[in-house]
């Protein structure tokens, strides 16, 4: 049975030097802990005072001074002090003062000595002279690991506050003010069939925009202004999943559920606290810039956040989604700025992302693939000058921010890809009903499409149209699969060469063209065949596995192959960025580790076999 206070245990487990201790030792340490409270501006340790414990900051903030009164260090939660005195003569040489109300966990001298003697890592961690540097290094690694490995529950720092949906907005506002919260969960009242269930959420912003700005009476029931179709997250999901959900849906508050019961709400600030260079921070910064030039200044932050994710062992899905969210945000902000400059659009429109951004598989080296759907009332003579100018503004802006112009000219600046809704419907009908190799060669990218701005529902309509038509057309699927076979993987590596399937040798391999792109093509063909609406290749593969159209086990193999090839490509790009080189997709075999060579060879083999199966399935054995 748990006899030591679990909150103390959970806390120490998170921080060095305690995080290196085995569980049973940690339990013993906790059972010996003492706790003290220091209100702001009180001295914790005086110069020369006898010290009998390592001081660990549980909450609050502490200034550490030198003998001459100069400030030496500032510490907060998880910081520790007093170790210099403990290690020498028991006399304090760095006095400490609480600068906020501070709770200290004391680790008594006897315990400290035992840990110091028995655990090398503990000794190293407390003995390092320039600990500030070490702390940062450890904290960085730790933060990242936490982002990947900690559960959403670790972010919840208060009980959920809620009100029933029949309460008035005034009552809701009072409760929010009293509890100092910026969002409030709305529950079904007891008269409702789903009494006690979560009905919606309201935020500070909703009170401003949906009540005050609209001039609604304060007696309006909250049910009329709450957001009902809630995006939520389960308590046992990972912090990074919460982060992705918030990025994806541009949410600032995310209710956390446990068995359908709300257990808390996490705010975007809870996640941003994890670290400052993560993609969330970049995204929120994008929306704060006021010119293309300002946006350009964020390119280095994007790269830094990419490198960090790689160094912190993020998986390719997380990196791909984060980069896609960042790219999408650049587009959205540029469109906002464009509309500010050019005035509001004369007719409604939808701006599309195509290819890797729509698939959430974006990396750092990427060109812009975009298009525009215009309202059917669009009149070229009257309106096209506006949309051409807007497309150019966005396209130039994206290029300035590192998303280079598309060499295939698949951009909204191209009149062909800036068309009314009905023309887009015709395009897809034509591509699906009369597929030609040439036609599909350049248009397969349009089958990964996502609305990022404006009437995004139009993109959903197009996707529905595609999903409905594609699976019924054998000719189309055959043409798509032939198209997907244009790019094949190599056989493997031999010494410094890439060994091609036909025996030729090359010096480098393009990991995108020969690896991730044919894998994405393959997943797309199968996904269209089974009527899947997923766009991400991993999600497509999941649905393909579920539809059971591949030989047993092959779907999982493909997922592994995709992850491996993606990660080799990603690491290669991160390495180039760190060296100050221009990242690209080409890798020379001598730059691959033995581990990567061996595994890549297997991955290419899996891809090659999967391509053969695809050919057999959609083109018939010929």
């Amino acid at each position: 049975m748990q006899i030591e206070p679990i909150e103390v245990l959970d806390f120490l487990r998170r921080f060095p030097p305690f995080n290196c201790l085995p569980e049973e030792t940690l339990g013993w340490v906790v059972s010996e802990i003492e706790v003290g409270y220091f209100k702001a501006d009180t001295q914790i340790l005086e110069l020369g005072q006898h010290v009998d414990a390592l001081h660990v900051i549980r909450s609050g903030a502490v200034d550490i001074y030198r003998r001459n009164g100069e400030l030496y260090n500032k510490m907060s939660e998880g910081g520790f002090f007093g170790e210099f005195g403990l290690l020498r003569d028991g006399k304090i040489r760095f006095p400490a003062k609480a600068i906020e109300d501070t709770l200290i966990y004391f680790v008594p001298l006897t315990v400290f000595n035992k840990l110091f003697d028995e655990f090398e890592q503990f000794a190293d961690a407390v003995e390092i002279e320039d600990r500030t540097r070490l702390r940062q290094a450890v904290a960085r690694r730790e933060d990242a690991n936490e982002l990947m490995t900690s559960k959403v529950t670790s972010l919840i720092n208060r009980e959920p506050v809620s009100i029933t949906s029949d309460a008035s907005v005034h009552e809701a506002a009072l409760l929010m003010t009293e509890s100092s919260i910026s969002s409030l969960l709305i529950m079904h009242p007891s008269s409702h069939a789903m009494a006690g269930g979560l009905a919606g959420i309201i935020t500070d912003r909703d009170l401003r925009t949906r009540v005050v700005a609209e001039g609604l009476p304060y007696t309006t029931p909250v049910s009329e202004i709450m957001t009902e179709e809630l995006i939520t997250i389960e308590a046992n999901q990972f912090v990074f999943e919460a982060m992705l959900a918030m990025l994806r849906h541009n949410l600032h508050h995310l209710p956390v559920l446990q068995k359908d019961r709300p257990v808390g709400v996490i705010a975007i600030s809870d996640i941003i606290r994890y670290e400052s260079q993560n993609s969330l921070f970049v995204v929120s910064n994008i929306f704060r810039q006021h010119s293309v030039n300002d946006l350009k200044g964020l390119v280095s932050d994007v790269r830094a956040s990419f490198i960090r994710m790689v160094n912190e062992d993020a998986n390719s899905r997380m990196i791909g989604s984060s980069m896609a969210v960042i790219g999408r945000s650049f587009k959205q902000r540029l469109l906002e700025l464009g509309e500010e400059e050019l005035g509001p659009p004369p007719v409604p429109y939808c701006f599309l992302a195509l290819g890797s951004m729509a698939r959430d598989e974006m990396l750092i080296v990427t060109d812009q693939d975009n298009a525009m759907i215009l309202d059917d009332s669009f009149d070229p003579k009257q309106h096209d000058a506006y949309f051409e100018a807007l497309a150019k503004f966005v396209s130039d802006g994206l290029d300035a921010c590192g998303y280079t112009y598309c060499t295939g000219n698949i951009m909204a600046t191209n009149k062909q890809w800036r068309q009314p809704k009905r023309v887009w419907q015709q395009y897809f009908t034509e591509w699906i009903d009369n597929p030609s190799l040439e036609g599909l060669l350049h248009s397969s990218i349009f089958f990964d499409l996502e609305g990022v701005w404006g009437k995004t529902e139009w993109a959903d309509h197009l996707n529905d149209h595609i999903v409905r038509k594609a699976r019924q057309s054998k000719r189309f699927l055959a043409a798509m699969s032939r198209n997907a076979l244009n790019r094949t993987p190599p056989l493997g590596f031999f010494k410094d060469f890439v060994m091609e399937q036909d025996g030729r040798q090359n010096n480098t391999i393009n990991m995108k063209r020969r690896g991730t792109a044919p894998l994405a093509d393959l997943a797309r063909v199968h996904a269209l065949a089974i009527g899947s609406k997923a766009r991400n290749s991993f999600l497509r593969l999941d649905e393909i596995i579920e539809a059971d159209i591949l030989p047993r086990g092959r779907g999982q193999d493909l997922r592994d192959a995709l992850e491996l090839i993606s990660m080799v490509r990603i690491r290669h790009q991160a390495l180039a960025l760190e060296r100050g080189e221009t990242p690209d997709n080409s890798i020379a075999p001598e730059n691959l580790s033995e581990f990567e060579r061996k595994n890549l060879k297997d991955a290419f083999q899996i891809l090659s076999n999967a391509q053969k199966f695809m050919k057999f399935r959609y083109q018939g054995a010929r």
Binding site: P5, E7, G36, L174
Partner: protein, 243 residues
């Protein structure tokens, strides 16, 4: 569950606890209670800096000491300088009344947990030893003292009395001394919450998950230290705080 202001005023009358302990010592028959009272208590003018305290929290099957029972007990000894986890105790005990679903949701202790748990009487000796010679600190005094009293009366026909410091009542003194004026009510002011979690937040204490008896006892001890550090002198006589 909040205390009304009338109640607080009525409570200012003081017991002579030392005398009461001596009286009880003469009449109780149970050895454990004898030992408890024999250890005595503190003179009303004793400064709080020289008093050993113990923070106590019970999780119960409900709010009525007569019909509900205790399911877990957490305690942690401390003084104004430090809280000592070393002396911390946590027991799960088997109540004589049934666990209902609502209380299981609150404290998370389930039927299977208590099935193997001992009856209260098996640990009462250790519990009383831990309280002996210390002043008990609780958050909301409507639970621990009445429930312990009722549990003992049920089992050995002898109750128990002792002074307690109630951190919720200390918080109420500050925040609920005056009822809201009509104007304040009109403007939509609400009385600040004096629940444990909200009270801790006012002193910038960290958030601890609630309804684990040991954690709640620790949380209460920390709250008391914070209250003293912000609002009372270490030389405050205990009679100003205990009830």
């Amino acid at each position: 569950m909040y205390l009304s202001t009338e109640k607080i005023k009525a409570d200012t009358q003081q017991f002579d606890w030392i005398q009461l302990y001596q009286q009880r010592l003469e009449v109780v028959k149970d050895d454990r209670l004898k030992s408890f009272y024999a250890a005595g208590t503190f003179a009303p003018d004793t400064p709080i800096k020289s008093i050993p305290f113990v923070a106590v929290d019970f999780e119960t099957t409900g709010f009525d000491p007569k019909s509900d029972g205790i399911v877990s007990i957490g305690l942690v000894p401390f003084d104004l300088k430090r809280i000592h986890c070393k002396g911390a105790k946590h027991w799960i005990v088997r109540p004589r009344t049934a666990l209902d679903k609502e209380s299981v949701v609150v404290h998370g202790i389930t039927h299977s947990d208590i099935k193997s748990a001992p009856d209260m009487m098996r640990i009462v000796e250790y519990l009383l030893k831990a309280l002996e010679g210390r002043i008990v600190v609780v958050h909301h005094r409507g639970i621990e003292r009445p429930f312990l009293n009722a549990a003992l009366e049920k089992r050995i026909n002898e109750g128990i009395v002792f002074p307690v410091v109630d951190t919720m009542e200390l918080e109420a003194r500050l925040h609920r001394a005056k009822p809201l004026t009509l104007w304040q009510r009109f403007r939509g002011h609400a009385l600040p919450s004096i629940r444990l979690v909200d009270s801790r937040e006012r002193y910038h204490l960290p958030y601890y998950r609630q309804h684990h008896a040991l954690t709640d006892a620790l949380a209460t001890a920390e709250l008391f230290l914070a209250q003293v550090s912000h609002r009372f002198s270490e030389d405050t006589p205990i009679s100003e705080l205990w009830k």
